[in-house]
């Protein structure tokens, strides 16, 4: 098995998926909890346009922070996200090939796909799939998206989400995430530990509850203004900001059980509207990501569909 750093793992996966026709996208510059929230996933899985993409997404989960003390848990971790739309029948084999590209001789390991369905109440989205276990350890979430923003999807997208730190730890036989190499000779610990500590303190102890509630209200209002103005992409950015502010308040222990349901609903309402408006806007633009042949075939199949 070749020795991997965090960085070489990413490079290998990017090269692998680029060769399989994926566009290489870049992380969203807004705080998100998962790669799924990147517009390259949440919005692109809507509607008939084909889409193959791979990208790294730093994912912030305030409540998961452990001040840099826990060898396995991080308040910010990195996901490698792949979307294949429509899902090809050989998608599991492609995925296994990506593990082989990382130097794994799969016949000498245990690989299993165990049922694990995914649901995001804030995004009005759900999917069906597995967690992929490599030698008993979860390294990937594998999901066939069924619905996003409350909209039934067709075609269906396959989402593959690699947990990059986990995978690097396992491949380099390290017992703590802070002991892996980011790049040869540069440790993940020295690069990230201070950040983990400071953000844990910030999210758990320091963040201003008052300010964050105000931010939530303001971001929500701005998202609505954008939607009124027909600007769905800015609206979606503000929706994601609402979601992150909510996660911060949650980690801070500032959301009671009763409030929780209501706040999640406010974010979901925005996400559902963004999804619907995005689909409408792509329809108006006549699906720019389709080839002429695909577009023609689509219109033949959906002759009566009017532009909303």
């Amino acid at each position: 098995m070749q020795r991997h750093s965090f960085q070489s793992l990413i490079q290998t996966l990017q090269a692998f998926w680029a060769e399989r026709g994926c566009l290489i996208d870049y992380p969203l510059d807004v705080e998100v909890g998962a790669g799924t929230m990147h517009p390259s996933t949440f919005l692109r899985v809507l509607g008939p346009e084909p889409w193959r993409v791979a990208y790294v997404q730093p994912s912030r989960r305030p409540a998961d922070g452990r001040y840099g003390d826990n060898p396995f848990r991080l308040g910010k971790h990195y996901q490698f996200q792949v979307i294949l739309k429509p899902s090809p029948l050989e998608v599991q084999d492609l995925y296994l090939d990506s593990l082989r590209a990382l130097g794994l001789d799969l016949a000498r390991h245990d690989i299993r796909f165990e049922e694990d369905n995914w649901e995001s109440p804030t995004l009005g989205a759900w999917g069906v799939g597995w967690q992929v276990l490599l030698d008993g350890m979860e390294i990937t979430q594998f999901t066939y998206f069924q619905q996003a923003g409350g909209i039934d999807l067709a075609p269906i997208s396959a989402e593959i989400t690699y947990g990059l730190e986990r995978l690097t730890m396992f491949l380099s036989r390290q017992g703590s995430v802070f002991d892996i190499d980011w790049a040869p000779g540069v440790g993940y610990g020295p690069v990230r530990k201070q950040e983990e500590y400071e953000f844990s303190r910030y999210y758990f102890e320091v963040a201003s509850v008052d300010l964050h509630w105000k931010l939530f209200d303001s971001y929500e209002a701005e998202a609505r203004r954008c939607l009124e103005a027909g600007l769905v992409l800015p609206a979606y950015d503000w929706t994601l900001k609402c979601s992150h502010v909510f996660n911060t308040l949650d980690a801070r222990g500032a959301v009671s059980v009763t409030e929780r349901v209501g706040v999640i609903k406010r974010v979901r309402d925005l996400a559902v509207r963004c999804a619907n408006d995005y689909l409408a806007s792509r329809t108006r633009l006549d699906f720019p990501l389709m080839t002429d042949a695909e577009r023609q075939e689509y219109h033949e199949r959906h002759p009566v569909e009017s532009v909303p």
């Binding site: 899902s87 299993r112 796909f113 350890m137």
Partner: protein
């Protein structure tokens, strides 16, 4: 069927990994449909034996053997017009008959003689070829399997449990094309995903099984299970231990694999200081791993994990499983340390932030109600009231701990463990630990009276609350687990004498509803407001309705539970004895039902039944009246009266002593005299005084065993009973 029934059909569906928990249900449904198909084909005898169904992590497989070449020929009869309309006076066919024949494409000669007043056509229908029937039936059968959560894939045109890759359909070594999920069946499959992923061409089921075995797929799920069980035993033995016996883990492992393997791994020994319940739950539920215990039964730091690969030459699977289990336990260890920085009792106030149910308030309020209830139930029992109240007060405190947030299935147990470590008394911590018991009909009951009382209090509160707000279970939907809550109460109350608990179901419901006085008032006020707006009729007295609904709901659970093992009473035994009362004592109900059960196979039971029935019939609808000895005239009625004066009193005494079988036997002792009475004495005479007096006499006799059961509800096979005489 003239030709021999020696044909074979074989089917494989290759899909992506099917959730392990769904295989058994799907296989049972598939088997049932296939057996029905064979019966439809005319197969008789051991039809079950003709069908084999199997599955692996990503395959559904079945084989049907001893198939006839075609469905049996059958004779159809078609009913025509009435004979009198079919022929005219001269006996010639009418227009109506011609119309009937035309419709069926038949000639007059095909009409047959029949015994009734209609003309009939009889014709022999040649059975369809088995191959054709299979081609029509198999796609429908496969698609009809109910999966709890299906999905779409690709362009979203197909829906099934997971994407389907290929289908094999072979009849007697020849491909038999079927179309499913947009795929045409063939004869090619693939081997194990990573060990032998190439294509494999097969010609029959036998060929398939042996070729797949070479390609690292064991088709027979029982064989996979046995291989893993044996390997587990050997691996555990190597460290002088035994694997925990765990059917639920085996059942999952066999469907998570195609080529079964087991590895042994270790976690850091210092983690053994965590409570055993936590270690076992993390391994079993979260990691699907099997703990290893030493000869003395203590948990060791070795455990077993499933692999879909027979070997682990580099120790990768052992390493990975150790890694992930250590990580999980490290989290648990962190929770265990931080949780115990405060006492359980100090968590009480924070329960205010934890909602029980929107309309029923938070867990702090629920705790207050449970405490009140537990105190009241203990007050009439041989259970210490202070212990019961204390345990009830602490029962929900663990819901705020990190440990329970992470491992919800440990609720109750974690509270009990923390209470024990705080040094609380055994009755208290055990009651906290046990108060979710019993979880199902097979589960153990709380180990002490305090635990039983808190469990009852918690359940009756939940039941009454949800019924008050109208959240009753409907059909198979029971999102709040109310059936289980009620069943648990029944299980505990059946054994209540163990703890000298005296409360009956009726009292518990009254107590439970009292706890919700405020909620009822609020609901009542809301209903009145609506009524004032003229949208609904004024709220009536809901209290009586709620009580009745809860009682009826629990009565259903009593019936279900008593008819299931270990009681296994018959429907009529339960119905007859419940008719004589059940809600103030379930142990008493059980004894009465058992007495009826023992006696019903006794030939004397027929006399009991006949007597009771005759008396019930003749006295039905008659006014109540006093028995007057002086009005007794006939010798037979005097004798019956004399006998009943002695026996009815004795029977009453036996019932008080709960000698129900003896009471029923004594009742049978009046049968002969009753027989004479009915033979010699006329009840329905004109003299109303005498008539009423005779009815009063019969009522006294018939009423003697009424406190035990309404025996007229027992259904007997007379011939069988009589033959035993």
């Amino acid at each position: 069927m003239n030709e021999e029934s020696n044909h074979e059909y074989f089917f494989e569906l290759l899909a992506e990994e099917i959730p392990a928990s769904m295989h058994e249900g799907a296989l049972a449904a598939l088997r049932q449909r296939l057996v029905a198909f064979l019966e439809g084909l005319g197969c008789k005898g051991d039809v079950e034996g003709q069908v084999r169904v199997q599955s692996t992590a990503r395959r559904l497989i079945f084989r049907m053997g001893r198939l006839p070449p075609a469905e049996a020929d059958r004779t159809d009869e078609i009913k025509g017009p009435p004979r009198r309309l079919a022929y005219d006076a001269s006996g010639a066919p009418t227009a109506a008959l011609h119309g009937f024949l035309r419709k069926n494409g038949a000639a007059v000669e095909e009409l047959v003689q029949s015994d009734d007043d209609y003309v009939r056509l009889r014709r022999t229908v040649t059975g369809q070829r088995t191959t054709e029937l299979i081609q029509a039936a198999v796609p429908e059968i496969i698609q009809s399997i109910h999966w709890p959560k299906s999905m779409r894939w690709g362009y979203g045109e197909q829906s099934y449990i997971r994407p389907v890759h290929s289908i094999i359909s072979i009849f007697d070594d020849q491909p038999l094309p079927v179309k499913l999920f947009g795929l045409l069946s063939g004869t090619v499959t693939v081997g194990h995903r990573t060990l032998a992923p190439g294509p494999i061409e097969v010609t029959s089921y036998g060929d398939y099984v042996s070729k797949l075995e070479l390609a690292r797929v064991i088709v027979d799920s029982d064989r996979r299970r046995m291989a893993m069980a044996e390997r587990s035993r050997v691996l555990a033995h190597e460290v002088r231990g035994v694997p925990a016996l765990d059917e639920t883990i085996w059942a999952q492992w066999q469907y998570l694999t195609e080529y079964p393997g087991v590895v042994r791994a270790e976690f850091s020994p210092e983690l053994l200081t965590l409570p055993e319940e936590v270690l076992v739950t993390v391994m079993r539920v979260h990691q699907k791993q099997l703990p290893i215990r030493d000869a003395a039964g203590s948990l060791t730091n070795s455990f077993l994990a499933v692999t879909d690969n027979e070997a682990d030459p580099d120790g990768n699977a052992a390493y990975g499983n150790s890694f992930v289990t250590n990580a999980r336990f490290a989290d648990a260890s962190f929770f265990y340390q931080t949780d115990r920085k405060v006492t359980l009792e100090s968590r009480l106030d924070s329960l205010e932030h934890l909602q029980f149910q929107e309309k029923l308030g938070n867990y702090r309020r629920k705790t207050e109600r449970i405490e009140q209830l537990a105190g009241a139930i203990a007050g009439t029992s041989g259970v210490d009231v202070d212990d019961a109240r204390r345990a009830a007060r602490l029962s929900k405190c663990d819901l705020g701990t990190e440990m329970v947030k992470e491992f919800t299935e440990l609720q109750g147990k974690i509270g009990g463990i923390y209470a024990r470590e705080e040094g609380l008394s055994s009755p208290v911590w055990q009651a906290v630990y046990d108060h979710y018991l019993p979880v199902n009909a097979e589960d153990a009951l709380p180990r002490s009276g305090v635990g039983a009382v808190v469990s009852l209090a918690d359940r009756i509160d939940t039941l009454c609350g949800f019924f008050l707000i109208g959240a009753k279970p409907t059909g198979s939907r029971d999102p709040f687990g109310l059936r289980r809550a009620a069943q648990g109460m029944v299980q505990i109350l059946l054994e209540r004498d163990t703890w000298h608990i005296t409360a009956g179901m009726d009292q518990l419901i009254d107590l439970g509803l009292q706890g919700y006085a405020d909620v009822r008032e609020a609901l009542h006020a809301a209903a009145s407001e609506k009524a004032e707006k003229g949208r609904k009729r004024a709220a009536t007295d809901r209290g009586a309705d709620d009580r009745g609904e809860v009682l009826e709901f629990i009565a259903d659970r009593v019936r279900t539970l008593l008819q299931a093992p270990p009681y296994a009473l018959a429907y009529d035994e339960v119905a007859a004895t419940m008719e004589a009362g059940w809600m103030n004592s379930l142990p008493d109900l059980l004894e009465r039902a058992k007495a009826v059960r023992r006696l019903r196979s006794d030939p004397r039971f027929l006399s009991i039944l006949d007597s009771a029935k005759r008396i019930a019939n003749i006295t039905a609808g008659q006014p109540e009246s006093e028995l007057n000895r002086n009005l007794l005239a006939e010798p037979a009625e005097k004798r019956l009266n004399d006998l009943s004066e002695v026996l009815v009193g004795q029977i009453a005494g036996m019932i008080v002593e709960r000698h129900y079988e003896l009471a029923l036997q004594s009742f049978a002792g009046m049968a002969d005299e009753l027989e004479n009475f009915f033979a010699e004495v006329m009840v329905n005479v004109d003299d109303s005084g005498i008539r009423q007096n005779r009815i009063a006499l019969l009522r006294r006799v018939g009423g003697a065993v009424a406190p035990i059961a309404d025996v007229t509800r027992i259904v007997v096979d007379r011939r069988e009973l009589a033959s035993r005489k």
